[in-house]
Subunit: 449 residues, 2 copies
Amino acid sequence: MTPAASVLLTDLYQLTMLQAYHDAGMAETAVFEFFVRRLRPGRGFLLAAGLEQALESLEQLRFTARELEWLASTRRFSADFLASLETLRFTGDVHAMPEGTVFFPNEPILRVTAPIAQAQLAETRLINLLHFETLIASKAARSVLMAPDRLLVDFGLRRAHGAEAGLLAARASFLAGFSGTSTVLAGERFGIPLFGTMAHSFIQAHDDEALAFEHFAHAQPDNVVLLIDTWDTEAAAHKVVALAPRLKRAGIRIKGVRIDSGDLAEHARKVRRILDAGGLGQVIIFASGDLDEFALRDMLAAGAPVDGFGVGTHMDTSSDLPYLDCAYKLQEYAGRARRKRSEGKATWPGRKQVYRHNDAGGRMVGDIVTLEGDAQAGEPLLIPVMRGGRRLAQRPALTDIRSHAAASLAGLPEPLRRLEAFDYPVQLAPALHELAAEVDRRTFSFQSN
Amino acid sequence: MTPAASVLLTDLYQLTMLQAYHDAGMAETAVFEFFVRRLRPGRGFLLAAGLEQALESLEQLRFTARELEWLASTRRFSADFLASLETLRFTGDVHAMPEGTVFFPNEPILRVTAPIAQAQLAETRLINLLHFETLIASKAARSVLMAPDRLLVDFGLRRAHGAEAGLLAARASFLAGFSGTSTVLAGERFGIPLFGTMAHSFIQAHDDEALAFEHFAHAQPDNVVLLIDTWDTEAAAHKVVALAPRLKRAGIRIKGVRIDSGDLAEHARKVRRILDAGGLGQVIIFASGDLDEFALRDMLAAGAPVDGFGVGTHMDTSSDLPYLDCAYKLQEYAGRARRKRSEGKATWPGRKQVYRHNDAGGRMVGDIVTLEGDAQAGEPLLIPVMRGGRRLAQRPALTDIRSHAAASLAGLPEPLRRLEAFDYPVQLAPALHELAAEVDRRTFSFQSN
């Protein structure tokens, strides 16, 4: 469980709108949905993540006395409105795609049905969480697809955007199929396997590289992965070979070496030969430094003898696509469907469901987005997860989410599994088009009064 | 003051190295420096930010009993090493460039001098904070330079990467010259001015747009900025004109309108004409939606009558450059200079100072990076900020940091102020080259033993 973010971690306009809803006596049920509007070319699919933190943020939605005092001090809000916030809790319903489900633009992955003040207030943090974890899970899945049988470790905390980004990137990449992370807090908080041994500073502080290796091996005898690129990668590999017998006599086995700079594939080949010739065929080679899914693909396609990869900055910032064009939009209020028609940002009204069609072999062949009541063939992807503010099931284990993600990714059409361009068919059902036209007719008649 | 992040928000290798330093009895003073290695073309300068949070992280550096118990449960560390962590505090010195100082690649902005365990352990979080705030301040400064006399508001929380990114992006953009933020918590925590009124959902929930405007105006009479692009921007502008006299009779003045979609410059021109013809010449036009520094430049160059801009996603994710190639590197240990020579990542050894030369008009003409003792003409940019773990001065007011940033940006060479390509001269002094050669000779003699 992540520590609760303050309810003040929101946009000011949520609070000014709540004041206005309060004054106007507008307290009916609203339906909001979170979805991605579009993906840029080259990014064919998304992997849903962040639901667990999103539900926590709803469970924790409340104003403390101190926060209400501070809001009063801004003189922006009326006393009776602020008094009404004292008892505000989330009492609504949530439908969502389980974390680890593959999805596509225009498919909602979360629907909130609640009194409008609650559903509106929750907006900023829900987007903040669902956007980020989905962004990182979707990026991480690409490395998993390119290097399915290799050890993949998240190394990105230092260049992740702040504390929570680092922590949640570890979670999102693990659920997408990574083996673990270097972020200690993610081990403590989420039980994610931890990896890490030494930085260049450790070698530099020793001057003598071989002595640094030996010190480390004795201090962490079960975790001996030696960083060999501080000065001369191949020379360091020879030192590892020279050191191995002495360590063996002390009962210590060298597990691996890490290369962090230069032409990683070329160094890996040379180092592999040195290790093998030195009787260290079991010692693995781990590579890191500026890696992304394409670097992994190219190294493995070139037959580089690399057993594991540390993937950091490019994944934890989703550097090629650092944000998704996503939204949390009002689809219904007081029992009536709604939409906005802003240029380039029009939305589909109503409560939606997504049905997925798989072929006999379990591969996805197409989705239909339609209204909730408009049953279609195929598997419905949105399921009820919260009712009346309470979860409908125990929180799933992260390892189970990870298994679901693996199954979902296994169902991707082949071109998407190879990260190739492919337009996965997502059909918008006639019922959606009809409702949109009906909403437009009603809205137009209102506006022309 | 931001809530303390757990000391476990670090890379596992920091702890495994600390175990090895402990076992080897290595506890001498280490000197680490944080710097950016290089900038990609099109990005000519950086703006230092994050020092305040970095110093807080050093002040708060400690292991709780619960964290030590959890570390013990991992069976990765020895009992006497973990016992030594109970009393670990940061007792070292810090030199830094003040926040809001313009700087360039290869110029350290922070130097930590401390027993190696402390300086090493602090690495991950120091990078995590300095990298992110510097990234965002440097991005935000570009919008400030392009629209120096306009209202600029940070709208990015929802697509920032998690809670802390949203909060610190508000801080970093404000110190770079933004007028404020929509992030309420940044108002409470840092005293940053808050902006925000309504989302499309507010309009949609009403069906009748004019009624939505009226409800809002009565609920927030001092803060009437009306969102007019939900259905038809110009039609909504006419409704604003029609509403104004009725509100005026109730003592309410319309401050502005916001346009969030479509061709913003074109809509702004049409809306300006409608408002002016309706006697609302004082009503400002605020634009938002997918904005960055280039969109601002182009709109203003085209004479678009826009008085303020909400800049969100592109700034809070630094979307064109979502990370900096930065490092925190060991420069000295036990009184001897150190460097790594990894390919493409070699560092300059020793404790450094940066001297800046300004012309008679106060414009920057060039910097020299040299060793601390090697005094040069010009203004030294790194100053002592912490000694023996204690701050040497009160924390500066954020508004003072903002003034310093404005002065620093005013000194940029003209091409950089216009965001044009320009290689600002940063000279590495002979003393640095000499020390590097000396370190290489010594390291080589060690490695060839």
